[in-house]
């Protein structure tokens, strides 16, 4: 599982600071709720900081998940939705722990709950009456299975009846310290055209072409690759990272093309998430860190240490994303004619919630006529993809080396216990 593996090297780094007993105590439980809607079908993903047991209680107008342990204070935020079968999600303390209540807009919609581990998520698909009438098998398939997406039987998700829409594939699990599964995310799609160049070149088409080429190039380099979309269709921003999380990705690369009001602006840029952004797990910690010192769970000394470890795990993730971004950018710079605009941090929505190192690549400016022309050329796209593949290989090797160096003779199965 991803989280303990990530923590493991950190625990080794700071053995003196961590009492052994700590490993047995659970971390505070935080929750991030994300919602997306397509027609009358709502998808709500409850991303927990770690596995948790729960019970379901259903009435005509409510669907409640009862947790046997409390959520951290910062997770207790209600959400309201303007459309869809779920009107509201209410997060409450209860006598036994916490309750997550879906207040339904219409009685008895069709609800499918899918439990995912690594990371632990409850993925709920709620279909309203309109959606139940219109859903036809086949149109719900998000990613057509390709040769690089074969799933060995042991990683098959439990068969669900009926299959929820937009359920992404999974990649075979990578071994510890291995960076092998890459999810590529061609930006925009469908009605979202993205930027449009002077020549009429559309961002959504260009990035799909590049993503397909990059898949080819990465696959021949031995990586397993999944695309968040392999056709001209819109995918919700939250769903894109959810696909990567669900697929067991080791890396997430979102591919975009830029545009500016200035025709002179040019060059590629690589972004990773700014540390102040609401990362899936970092959010609750940030709140605590800056909130008023209050008596509560966080004031317990051992929990403070856990929070420190939690933050270290998060910053380790960000540090890896930063390293990947540097490597990609340096390869792109060595491409002739491509100007360095550098590595930057920004709160890109599509990177929020990814549980693996994630970067966003702006391949160049469509608003610059010269650059738009280069970007449209197949051989330029090939060179671009070769550069990104070389960077990802370097990154994978660096992680492997690091993992070996840090683990030494230590047994990885002890990680996170």
């Amino acid at each position: 599982m991803k989280f303990p593996l990530l923590l493991a090297p950190l625990v080794l780094v700071v053995p003196l600071a961590v009492p052994l007993a700590l490993a047995a105590e659970p971390l505070p439980l935080s929750l991030q709720v994300s919602e997306s809607i397509q027609g009358d079908t709502q998808r709500i993903v409850l991303a927990f900081s770690r596995p948790v047991t729960y019970e379901i209680e259903e009435t005509k107008v409510r669907y409640t998940l009862r947790l046997r342990e409390p959520l951290d204070r910062d997770s207790l935020r209600d959400l309201a939705f303007e459309a869809g079968p779920v009107r509201r999600v209410r997060l409450d303390r209860s006598s036994r722990g916490a309750e997550i209540t879906f207040v339904l807009r219409e009685p008895e919609p069709h609800i499918t709950l899918l439990e995912q581990s690594e990371p632990f998520q409850l993925d709920l698909t709620i279909r309203g009456s309109a959606a139940r009438k219109s859903v036809t098998p086949g149109e719900t398939q998000d990613i057509p299975p390709g040769p690089d997406q074969e799933m060995p039987p042991e990683t098959q998700p439990e068969p669900q009846e009926p299959p929820p829409p937009s359920l992404p594939d999974r990649l075979p699990k990578s071994s510890p310290g291995e960076v092998r599964n890459i999810v590529l995310d061609p930006g925009h799609g469908g009605s979202e055209t993205g930027a449009v160049g002077a020549s009429g070149l559309r961002e959504k088409d260009l990035v799909l072409q590049i993503a397909r080429r990059l898949r080819e190039s990465l696959t021949s380099a031995g990586f397993r690759v999944l695309l968040t979309r392999d056709e001209d269709r819109g995918v919700d921003l939250m769903t894109r990272t959810a696909i990567a999380n669900h697929a067991g990705a080791d890396l997430f690369v979102s591919i975009h093309a830029n545009a500016s009001g200035s025709a002179a602006a040019r060059g590629a840029e690589t972004y990773y998430l700014s540390s102040g952004a609401p990362d899936a797990q970092a959010g609750s910690l940030a709140g605590r860190e800056n909130g008023p010192a209050a008596p509560g769970p966080a004031s317990h000394p051992s929990e403070e240490i856990q929070l420190v470890l939690w933050e270290m795990a998060q910053s380790a993730q960000l540090a890896r994303a930063s390293r990947l971004a540097e490597m990609i950018q340096s390869e792109l710079n060595s491409l002739s004619g491509l100007q360095d605009r550098g590595v930057r941090q920004a709160p890109f929505r599509v990177l929020v919630g990814a549980t693996m190192p994630s970067v966003l690549l702006e391949v160049g400016f469509l608003s610059n006529p010269d650059e738009a022309q280069s970007l449209a050329q197949p051989d330029y796209q090939d060179r671009l993809c070769a550069a990104v593949t070389a960077a990802i290989r370097r990154f994978a090797e660096s992680i492997k080396r690091e993992d070996k160096a840090e683990l030494g003779s230590w047994d990885p199965s002890e990680a996170g216990r």
Partner: protein, 202 residues
């Protein structure tokens, strides 16, 4: 060329803001009232004083308004604003000057017609600006546009006012998580100097 990021010492989220707002409704500390709207009935002195406030102000205060150069980097243009009134007054004047556009060779990055609906101060140096829908509507699909527009505001306030540590943007009173189809503005933002042209940058 590369930036490791300004240390995020304080990324207090909406929760904190809401706590402050809630506290303001029920409790003794002065509320962080909207201080910038023309229609606001709140007297200027209702705005909580920030550190550094209170000295007799000079007549004008120089501020650095951030616009874009032809290579899509942020570049400052010096401007003097009336130094009278409260910090909130000066912040509002600065934002309005920024929205009015550059006077020199730089390019405006804030969509024309963008209006500041309200301005809120937080005693720890977080300024929340509530902008009207023109801001979001006027941005094109390039992420560069949205980044420049957002950080022209953040950098302008954070660089011009020592009291400002972070800036949070609301659109029509609401948090946006997909500005220009890309940016998550649900958290306060810190100045990003890597967006400026400078030594060692292309």
């Amino acid at each position: 060329m590369t930036r490791r990021g300004i240390p995020a010492t304080a990324h207090a989220g909406l929760a904190t803001l809401m706590m402050l707002l809630l506290a303001a409704c029920s409790d003794a500390p002065p509320p962080p009232e909207p201080a910038g709207t023309a229609s606001s009935p709140v007297p200027p002195d209702a705005v909580p004083a920030l550190p550094g406030e209170g000295e007799p102000p000079p007549n004008v205060q120089p501020v650095r308004l951030h616009f874009a150069d032809e290579m899509d980097r942020l570049a400052p243009e010096m401007r003097d604003i009336d130094a009278g009134g409260t910090l909130a007054d000066r912040l509002r004047r600065t934002v309005e000057a920024l929205f009015a556009g550059p006077s020199g060779r730089l390019r405006r990055v804030i969509p024309p017609g963008t209006r500041l609906r309200a301005l809120y101060l937080d005693p720890r140096g977080i300024v929340t600006l509530d902008l009207d829908a023109t801001f979001a509507r006027g941005l094109t699909e390039g992420s560069s546009d949205a980044l420049l527009a957002v950080w022209s505001v953040v950098n302008t306030l954070a660089v011009s006012f020592a009291e400002v540590r972070q800036v949070k943007l609301l659109i029509e009173g609401e948090e946006r998580r997909d500005l220009g189809g890309h940016l998550d503005l649900s958290r306060p933002l810190t100045a990003d100097m890597s967006l400026l042209a400078g030594p060692g940058r292309p």
